[in-house]
C-alpha cells in the first residue's frame, strides 16, 4: 500500500525555460499596456480608460485574492493534499503589494470619474456619507483612501508573512522540529487571518465595485466577488501547474490526483457562484424596489441584455456539465480547456459588473423622488451600451502582464514547491478514493 516516496528534485525554474524569461516578456507587455492605458486617462476618452483599468485591476486582483484565500484555508484546515501546489498559490498571493501601486491611478486620477458619489448627492447618498465619505464641495476621498490603505495593509501583511515563513521552511532541511513549529505558526496566523481576509475582501468589493452605482446595494456583493475570484484562481492554478510541468518542473510531483482536487474546487465554486448570483438576482427581482432593480435594469439595455441572459448558461450550466464527471477532472486536456474557459467567463462576469456603468453619471437630483425618476431616465436616455474598446484590451494586457512578470520573478527566485513542508510527503502520496 505505501509506495516509496520520491522527493522531487526538479524544483527550480530552469534557466532556459519560458518561465525564466517570463519576467522580461510579461514585464515589457505589462509596462506597454499599462502605460498606454494610463496615457488614455489624460485623453478625450478618459472615462472609458478608467473603467477599463478598473475592470482589469479587479479581474487580476481577484485571482491574487483567491490565492490568498486558498493559502489561508489550506493552513487553517491543515490540508495535506495541497502541499505540492501551495507554493504556486503563495507566489501568486505574494504579488499583492504590486496591486497597491496599481491602485494609485484609480485612487488619484479616476476617483471622480468612476464613483458618482464623489461629486453627486441626494438623500440616498447623504444617508451613506458616514461610510462612503467624499463630501460634496471639497470632493474629499479621504475615507475611501483610508479604507484602501487598510485593505492593502491587511493583504500585504498576511501574504508576506505566509510567504516568508513558508520560504523559511525550505532552508531548514532535516530540522523537523523547527519545520513543524513554522507550520504551527502558519496555522495560527491563518485561523485569525481568515476573518481579516473575509471582511477586508468583502468591503473592498463594496468600495471599489459596488459603489460604482452608489444607490444600489446588495449584502451579497462581497461574497459574489469572492465566488468569482475563487473560480479565477483555481483555473489559473491549474493552468500554471500544467505549464510548469511542461517546462520541466515538478514533473512527477503533481499528479492527476492533485488536478482532480483542483478540478473539484473549480466545479464547486462554479456552483457556489451560481447560487450567490441567483440569490442576489432573485431577491431583487421579487421585491422590485427601484433603487435595487437599478443594477439589473442597466444590464437589460443596449446589448448588455444579451450578456445578462447568457451569463447563467456560460458561467454555470456549461462548466457544470463539463466538470461534473470524475474522468473530466482527471483528464489534463479537458481540465486545461475548462480552465481557460473559466478564466474567460470569469472575466466576462466582472466585465459585466463594471463596464455598464460607463457614462451612467446623472445630474444632482433635488429630492429622493426626483432621484428615483432620474435613475429611470438615465437608463432610458443615457443607456449603457455594450461595446469592446481597445483600451479594455490594453488595460488587461498591462495589468495582467505586470502581474505575470512579478509572479514569474518571485517563482524563479525560490523553489517552486514547499520542499520543507512537513506535509509534502502526504501530498506527494495523495490519492482520491
Amino acid at each position: 500500500m505505501s509506495h516509496d516516496i520520491e522527493r522531487p528534485t526538479d524544483i527550480t525554474v530552469p534557466a532556459t525555460s519560458l518561465w525564466a524569461k517570463m519576467p522580461l516578456f510579461a514585464g515589457v507587455a505589462g509596462v506597454a499596456g499599462t502605460g498606454f492605458t494610463v496615457a488614455m486617462m489624460f485623453g478625450e476618452h478618459k472615462e472609458r480608460a478608467f473603467f477599463s483599468y478598473l475592470f482589469a485591476f479587479a479581474l487580476v486582483l481577484s485571482i491574487v485574492l483567491g490565492a490568498l484565500a486558498f493559502v489561508l484555508i489550506q493552513h487553517a484546515t491543515r490540508a495535506g493534499w495541497s502541499a505540492v501546489v501551495r507554493r504556486v498559490a503563495e507566489t501568486v498571493m505574494a504579488t499583492v503589494p504590486l496591486f497597491a501601486l496599481l491602485f494609485l491611478p484609480i485612487a488619484l486620477l479616476g476617483f471622480h470619474d468612476l464613483y458618482p458619489w464623489s461629486h453627486e448627492t441626494d438623500k440616498f447618498l447623504e444617508a451613506k456619507r458616514w461610510w462612503l465619505g467624499g463630501d460634496m464641495g471639497n470632493g474629499s476621498g479621504s475615507k475611501f483612501y483610508f479604507r484602501a490603505v487598510i485593505f492593502f495593509g491587511i493583504w500585504t501583511l498576511l501574504s508576506q508573512l505566509l510567504y516568508r515563513w513558508s520560504l523559511q521552511q525550505d532552508t531548514l532541511g532535516d530540522n523537523k522540529e523547527a519545520r513543524n513549529a513554522i507550520t504551527r505558526k502558519l496555522w495560527v496566523l491563518s485561523a485569525g487571518g481568515i476573518f481579516l481576509y473575509a471582511l477586508s475582501q468583502s468591503f473592498a468589493a463594496v468600495d471599489w465595485l459596488m459603489s460604482l452605482q452608489p444607490h444600489w446595494y446588495s449584502t451579497m456583493y462581497g461574497v459574489y466577488f469572492f465566488a468569482g475570484s475563487m473560480i479565477g484562481f483555481y483555473a489559473f492554478l491549474a493552468l500554471v501547474c500544467m505549464s510548469l510541468q511542461k517546462h520541466g518542473m515538478m514533473a512527477k510531483a503533481i499528479t492527476a490526483e492533485h488536478y482532480h482536487d483542483i478540478g473539484k474546487f473549480s466545479f464547486g465554486h462554479t456552483i457556489f457562484w451560481a447560487y450567490i448570483a441567483f440569490c442576489q438576482f432573485m431577491l431583487i427581482w421579487y421585491a422590485n424596489i427601484p433603487e435595487e432593480t437599478e443594477y439589473y435594469m442597466m444590464r437589460m439595455e443596449g446589448g448588455w441584455n444579451r450578456i445578462s441572459l447568457i451569463l447563467p448558461l456560460v458561467n454555470f450550466f456549461i462548466p457544470f456539465f463539463v466538470l461534473l464527471s470524475r474522468h473530466a477532472k482527471r483528464n489534463r486536456t479537458v481540465l486545461m480547456v475548462a480552465s481557460i474557459y473559466l478564466l474567460f467567463v470569469h472575466a466576462l462576469d466582472l466585465y459585466w459588473a463594471v463596464m455598464p456603468n460607463v457614462g451612467a453619471h446623472g445630474e444632482e437630483p433635488a429630492t429622493a423622488a426626483e432621484g428615483a425618476r432620474q435613475i429611470g431616465e438615465a437608463v432610458a436616455v443615457h443607456g449603457p451600451h455594450f461595446s469592446i474598446a481597445l483600451v479594455d484590451v490594453t488595460a488587461l494586457v498591462g495589468i495582467g502582464g505586470l502581474f505575470l512578470a512579478a509572479f514569474a520573478f518571485l517563482l524563479a527566485r525560490n523553489k517552486v514547491i514547499c520542499i520543507g513542508d512537513p506535509r509534502l510527503d502526504e501530498s506527494l502520496r495523495h490519492e482520491n478514493y
Binding site: M1, F278, F281, M282, W285, Y286, N288, L324, E431, Y433
Partner: protein
C-alpha cells in the same frame, strides 16, 4: 437418509490481523480469479477496492439520470400547477415566471439525486440483509472491532474447499473457518 435440512457449506472465512496482510491477500484472491467473494473490515481501508479488483460503481449514472428526471419533473410541475391548473397572480409577476420557480426546481434536483444516492446504495449493496452465514462465526464478531476478514462463497466456480482453504492459509490468515448456510 440425507436430510434436506443438513447444513451445506456456504463458503470459507479467513481472518487477518492487519490491513497490510489483508490488502496483499485480496490481491492474491483477485489474481486467482475468484468472483463471488468479499472483504470485511472494521473501517474503510483506502485502496482496497483496487486490491479486490472492483469495478467503479454504477450508482453515479442512476443519480445523473434520476436527478435530471426529478429536475425536469419539478420544473414542469411548477409551470403546470402555477400557470395552468390553478393560476394565481403573485406579486404582479407573470404566471410562469422562471426566477420564482428556480428555488423549488433546484431543490427537486437535489432531492431526487440525494434520494437516489441513499436508496441506490441500499439496492446495489443488497440491503437490508437480515441474515448472513458469517453471523454464526464467533470469530466474525470482531469485524466491528479489530480484525479483518475475507469471505469466499462456495457458489464461486473456482471454489474448491481444500484448495481455497490452502490458498487462504498461504496468504497469512490467522484463522480459517468453514461457513454453513
Amino acid at each position: 437418509m440425507a436430510s434436506t435440512n443438513a447444513p451445506k457449506t456456504w463458503g470459507v472465512l479467513a481472518q487477518y490481523e492487519n490491513t497490510k496482510i489483508l490488502y496483499n491477500a485480496c490481491e492474491r484472491v483477485r489474481d486467482a480469479g475468484y468472483s463471488r467473494w468479499d472483504a470485511c473490515t472494521p473501517f474503510a481501508v483506502h485502496g482496497l477496492d483496487k486490491a479486490m479488483g472492483l469495478r467503479a460503481s454504477t450508482l453515479p449514472w442512476y443519480v445523473l439520470l434520476i436527478g435530471i428526471g426529478g429536475s425536469l419533473f419539478g420544473l414542469w410541475f411548477e409551470m403546470w400547477s402555477m400557470g395552468y391548473d390553478y393560476p394565481i397572480i403573485v406579486q404582479g409577476k407573470p404566471l410562469n415566471s422562471l426566477p420564482a420557480f428556480v428555488p423549488v426546481w433546484y431543490e427537486m434536483t437535489v432531492l431526487s439525486s440525494c434520494l437516489t444516492v441513499f436508496f441506490g446504495n441500499w439496492v446495489l449493496n443488497r440491503l437490508p440483509q437480515y441474515y448472513h452465514p458469517a453471523f454464526k462465526s464467533k470469530a466474525f464478531d470482531r469485524v466491528t472491532d479489530d480484525k479483518f476478514f475475507i469471505l469466499i462463497e462456495a457458489a464461486d466456480s473456482r471454489f474448491d474447499l481444500v484448495k481455497t482453504k490452502a490458498m487462504l492459509k498461504d496468504t497469512g490468515a490467522s484463522h480459517i473457518e468453514e461457513l454453513e448456510d
